[in-house]
């Protein structure tokens, strides 16, 4: 096992326990839930956890990692701001002899990292597309997309979704909502205006999806079906009362739990897989009871 005594200045950590650094990417609902999950699971696993937040800035992320290195944690869990900026992070940590565990995404060079809990964003998009394909049957339908902010996460999601749609479903509008509900609402209002005959809308997260629903309802387009991503408590409630029709659950709780447990196990040289795929569940009205818990209490 890794020698825990090297973490000399991890004040408060019990002798023999593991210290983890968690570098979170932003302050959204998802990130908050993820952090809670990491903290709670670490407590259960008897690991000490330090946290930092990069506030959506790649430079801050690197700084946070440097700060974690200088406090000499045993391993780092990183919810990255940006997949491609990771290389620098990983190289840094590697040079300092501190392994990195990634959440949500992975990297090509698996050997450089401790492990990863991966959400396959392409597949998330595909699952939503599949639901539309099934729901629409052979009808030709019009679909609108409210994407996130420019960047890999949104591109993968939207790419997976649009490429998987059947030929009978046509994407008539695709605009960025910047992961910002207010912006998404404006976009949705304009979209329903330009395409009053819209049948479906794909929205890159649930916070935006609620705002989009409001915009559609206000424009009298109550029967546009909205599919989204997250599976948060509010999202499940919205599925129940019919505001959203489908969502793909990528539970922040599951990701956080997996990340901590696996990190601890891997540090202890237990024989576990380095990369674990976070289970994805399509939630519709019929399957709401199968929805995994999204956020820790």
């Amino acid at each position: 096992a890794q020698d825990a005594d090297t973490s000399a200045d991890s004040g408060g950590s019990k002798k023999g326990s593991v210290s983890l650094g968690f570098v979170n990417g932003a302050n959204t609902h998802f990130h908050t839930c993820l952090q809670k999950a990491v903290e709670q699971t670490a407590k259960k696993e008897d690991a000490k956890v330090y946290t930092a937040n990069s506030k959506q800035d790649a430079g801050t992320e690197l700084s946070n990692i440097e700060d974690m290195i200088s406090r000499n944690v045993d391993a780092l869990i990183v919810q990255t701001v940006n997949v491609d900026a990771l290389d620098g992070d990983i190289a840094k940590a590697k040079a300092a002899g501190i392994p990195i565990y990634l959440t949500s995404v992975s990297t090509d060079k698996i050997s450089d990292i401790l492990g990863a809990a991966v959400v396959d964003l392409t597949e998330v998009g595909q699952m939503d597309a599949d639901w539309i394909a099934k729901d629409a049957g052979s009808k030709s339908v019009k679909v609108g997309v409210v994407a996130g902010a420019p960047g890999a996460a949104s591109d993968l999601l939207v790419g997976g979704f649009t490429k998987r749609l059947p030929a009978t479903a046509k994407v008539v509008a695709n605009q960025p909502g910047m992961f910002n509900p207010a912006k998404a609402q404006d976009v949705a209002e304009n979209m329903i205006q330009a395409h009053p005959d819209l049948d479906y809308a794909f929205v890159a997260n649930e916070e935006m999806a609620f705002a989009v629903r409001k915009a559609f309802d206000a424009a009298g387009a109550k029967n546009v079906k909205i599919v989204s991503v997250n599976g948060s408590e509010d999202g499940i409630a919205a599925i129940k009362d019919g505001r959203l029709q489908a969502t793909v659950s990528n539970s922040a709780l599951t990701i956080g739990q997996t990340a901590v447990k696996q990190s601890v196990d891997l540090l202890a040289d237990k024989k576990v897989d380095k990369v674990s795929k976070v289970p994805l569940t399509l939630i519709t009205r019929d399957t709401v009871d199968q929805a995994p818990q999204y956020c820790p209490e």
């Binding site: 207010a182 404006d186 330009a194 206000a218």
Partner: protein
């Protein structure tokens, strides 16, 4: 000078954008779409309106967007915690006014430039908003639904509120001593003081008013979204409002400003965003186009001004 059409640059750019979009996108000129645009800009209009008055008086509040974020968060927590809408609205507006007042106290009784002080409070308030929400989103269900989504005689309530605020501010600036004092203070604070204007009191009132209007904007935003999420409003919102105000011809140094210009600035930004959506412009180009339009409008305005005052 009297013959010159004020804000000609802005109006010219606005007309070009409107004509171009109307020709390319049929849906642009539908009354529904125009109402959409107007509803979308309502929140920004209220913030920009308050800022116009404050900046005319030589002040600056860079924290209005963040103040709105705090208000949104607090109101959402109160509503979801079961408080009545009336109580929530009153508490939220009071809180926002107090935040503004604190800004005013700092600016008036210390020697800190308003921009600096309120940039610091903007950061601080962004953090407070996160704390209030505890990093999560909070939904308010059907509450305040009417304000955010209903119409009166076909006009969205939000628009009615925003228009009322702008008209009131315009009247205050034109026809009241309070408004004229703002011009005098912005033009030359020493002279204002020597002329018997109670400058500190006026400043506090102006900052508190800006705060209250930021709070109102926050409530309007909340009623539209039906939820408060982390990073709603904040500095980004503020920058849009500042852009609208300065494009509208209000001086950063104070002493000059009109609500009409601000309204035009707000409308221009709203119309451009709407046009970019309707024209299906690639999202990567949207920022470029918005920036370019702002720049062109500013330059035309600038050339026009060059003629009159050196």
């Amino acid at each position: 000078m009297a013959l010159r059409l004020p804000h000609a640059g802005l109006i010219a750019v606005l007309v070009v954008v409107i004509v171009f979009t109307a020709l390319r996108a049929d849906s642009f000129t539908t009354s529904q779409n125009l109402l959409n645009v107007l509803r979308q800009i309502s929140v920004n209009a209220v913030i920009a309106g308050g800022l116009t008055l404050l900046m005319t008086a030589g002040g600056m509040d860079f924290s209005m967007g963040s103040n709105a974020a705090v208000t949104t968060a607090v109101a959402a927590q109160m509503l979801s915690g079961g408080h009545s809408t009336a109580v929530t609205v009153v508490v939220a507006l009071l809180l926002a006014a107090v935040v503004g007042l604190v800004n005013g106290l700092v600016v008036t009784f210390t020697n800190v430039a308003p921009f600096v002080a309120t940039l610091a409070t903007a950061m601080l308030l962004d953090g407070v908003a996160l704390l209030v929400l505890n990093g999560m989103s909070v939904t308010i269900g059907d509450k305040m639904q009417a304000l955010g989504n209903s119409t009166v005689a076909g006009v969205p309530w939000l628009l009615v509120v925003a228009a009322l605020v702008l008209v009131l501010i315009g009247l205050v600036m034109r026809f009241t001593t309070f408004g004229r004092d703002a011009f005098a203070m912005g033009g030359n604070e020493h002279v204002a003081r020597l002329s018997g204007i109670n400058v500190p009191a006026r400043k506090l009132a102006l900052y508190a008013l800006a705060g209250a209007l930021a709070g109102l904007a926050g409530l309007m935003l909340l009623s539209r979204l039906g939820a408060s999420a982390p990073n709603t409003a904040g500095l980004q919102t503020q920058l849009t409002a500042v852009a609208a105000v300065v494009i509208g011809g209000t001086s950063l140094a104070g002493g000059r400003g009109t609500v009409a210009g601000t309204a035009l600035g707000v409308v221009l930004l709203g119309v451009v965003a709407n046009a970019l959506n309707l024209l299906q412009v690639n999202s990567n180009y949207q920022l470029v186009v918005t920036g370019a339009v702002l720049l062109v409008a500013a330059v035309i305005n600038g050339f026009q001004r060059k003629g009159s005052t050196p």
